[in-house]
Symmetry: C2
């Protein structure tokens, strides 16, 4: 790929994403749908002009990491901790139920081998943290109690997803499961999540001091992006998803962050404001690239729409995928309407489901029929819930609306 | 290359560049030297950890285009036009003299074939607009009369360089020169430079109107970067260097832009300020990547330092390279000290020289010995002038210092 071609591709992505996001907003749909649609349009599903190459995937990854950094920046750790138990319950139920249902449907319903049934179940466990968080932010619901429960559950789901993927990968490659490995990954991820914000906090103190001394402009953009990339890389080394590194760095720099044992390491509020003001344009530039690349990765032409088996499989898996996530929300001690909102927010599979499906077809565990059905399930669970959530919020006032 | 690897490479580049730029500033050297040094350290010259791949080159290209966009934003068109004749003279002399001297030295001095002599001369004509502009900005001399003369000359030099490269490329590939082609390129580039700012100005009016209507945040970063990329792509299509597209877009949006025939298309100053405030962090993030990639591309290990012929060749070409640029400045109607400053500012060859040398070795016109000598010349002309310029400015007050 030539550099000139790449400039043009980037132009096409940024421009189409913006135009479709504006159209979506005017039509009353969530803007993120416009960005996903841009990817579907430009990608193999419709026009086939673009396919997500190495460079685009790298920029998209930076986009999602920076988005999670921003989510972290805006998160109140106390409130997140208060939501913790509910989040954990929601994450475990939203992880366990689709896995179980998916396995049962495939193994007993369709007579698939156990490994295949486990893989399909695994694909259904994913929650797309990117899409969930973006829709909540678009609707202004990120800071509400239900928003914090969903955020916490989505973060935990991502960790569980990575552990499962590691196990499945080993399972399908070596034919044996090592639970010790899974436990090791969980331990490392836990250690990362306890230590990373503390380290990030200390490092931001160094950046703050550097800022008062430097004579060269541009400290915050380069050093803060470096910091975020460092924690993303550290997360990867510890076996966690990279985007959680961005989240941890954001948490540490948020104005509402506190260290355990009451250690006072306050961030100067003006410093926080400068960080937010200068990181904002960078985040806004990279984030749409991520959602467009999700759309590009979703090849709807890979589906042979004429086969009746596809419809049977898709409808079965779709019911399982939705029921598994929504049922988990029903046990939460929230008003019924909020339970539905939380349950719906957990449904999008997005990029996480695509990664599972892709590994499944690459290792030969999934055949074309199953892969196509999963693509349908991922597309529908990704594209429909944003509309439902918007409709629910508009119809029904939430706690936040009653007590602003 | 994995996405994780890329995140780590980007981290290494941003972090090393910043640290070395800070060290350079503290040691009294221009910060850009620190960024070039970061590339030389990380690249094949010293540690060999990184080589500039497709993705890095693309990001570097965005960096230089955005830097030129910023230069355009800060340029006063009237002042640039006033410098026009001097710039044109300087550009033609700084283009023609190194070409002529280079040819004479190679053809008669070293007995090289005519094609080789032309190619070496061509490599010596380049002026690195990126390094020149960055050093002037670092020294706060961009808005001075001599700064505007250098800027105009660097822009013209880039156009002349592209025309020459197109001709040389054809010459070395087909064995025949088509002057008609060169004229066509010049015509297109001229048309681009007259029309692009007008079109960009009209488009920015559309963006301004969109901004007052949109409900989704992030308009300026995505749409302005799209606009800049569009003009970079347009420049390429018209046969001009991409970075001039960035410059034209910046010119059109600058607060001091006026259209020919007195057409009033004023930019709302608050809109200009928002553009500058939001583009600044993005530009500051991408620009260092460009200078690091220039350093990465400079393989000092490709030089066999023990061969005496290399020294003879390098010293000859270096004298020619410096004399050709500095002599051009001597005819300017400026005080002597400013002539020296302007002449020195034109010396860096940087990335433009590297592109020539790379094409030369790829097409087989240059042998290893000549290539190595040119690398030495490019390295010295790129790394030494920033120090000289800083020293000159510190020792001698310029017009700007006398009338602030």
């Amino acid at each position: 790929m030539d550099t000139q071609d790449f400039l043009f591709i980037l132009l096409a992505i940024l421009f189409t994403a913006r135009v479709l996001a504006e159209l979506a907003a005017r039509a009353g749909a969530p803007p993120v749908i416009g960005e996903l649609a841009a990817g579907i349009l430009l990608g193999p599903s419709v026009f086939g002009w673009l396919s997500p190459g190495e460079t685009l995937r790298a920029l998209a990854e930076i986009g999602i990491i920076l988005l999670l950094f921003q989510v972290g920046l805006e998160t109140d750790v106390r409130r997140l901790a208060r939501a913790g138990l509910h989040s954990a319950g929601l994450a475990l139920a939203g992880f366990g139920l689709p896995m179980l249902f998916g396995f049962v449907v495939m193994y007993w319903g369709f007579g698939a081998p156990a490994l295949v049934a486990v893989f399909v179940g695994g694909t259904l466990t994913a929650t797309s943290i990117g899409i969930t968080v973006r829709v909540l932010a678009d609707l202004g619901r990120q800071q509400t109690p239900e928003g914090q429960i969903v955020l916490g559950a989505a973060v935990l789901d991502d960790v569980l997803g990575v552990v499962l993927l590691a196990l499945l990968y080993e399972f399908s490659a070596a034919g044996g499961v090592s639970l010790a490995n899974g436990a090791k990954v969980l331990l490392f991820v836990g250690a990362f999540f306890v230590l990373a914000p503390i380290v990030a906090k200390l490092m931001s103190g160094v950046v703050h001091r550097m800022e008062s001394q430097t004579q060269i402009p541009g400290l915050i953009p380069t050093v803060m992006v470096s910091l975020v990339l460092f924690f993303a890389w550290l997360a990867h080394v510890m076996g966690a998803p990279e985007l959680l590194g961005g989240f941890a760095a954001g948490l540490a720099l948020s104005r509402r962050f506190f260290l355990p044992f009451g250690i006072a390491l306050r961030t100067d509020p003006r410093f926080s404001e400068r960080i937010e003001a200068q990181m904002q344009p960078i985040i806004q530039l990279f984030t749409p690239i991520f959602f467009v690349v999700v759309g590009l990765s979703l090849n709807l032409r890979a589906v042979d729409w004429a086969k009746p088996e596809i419809w049977l499989l898709s409808v079965s898996l779709l019911s399982v995928a939705v029921a598994g996530k929504v049922l988990g929300a029903m046990v939460l001690p929230l008003p019924a309407r909020m339970r539905w909102l939380v349950g719906t927010a957990m449904v999008p599979r997005g990029e996480v489901g695509l990664i599972f499906a892709e590994i499944g077809i690459q290792t030969g565990v999934l055949d074309d029929l199953l892969y196509a059905s999963l693509i349908i399930v991922i597309a529908l669970t990704t594209l429909v819930p944003p509309f439902l959530m918007k409709w629910m919020i508009r119809r029904q006032p939430t706690v936040a609306d009653l007590s602003p």
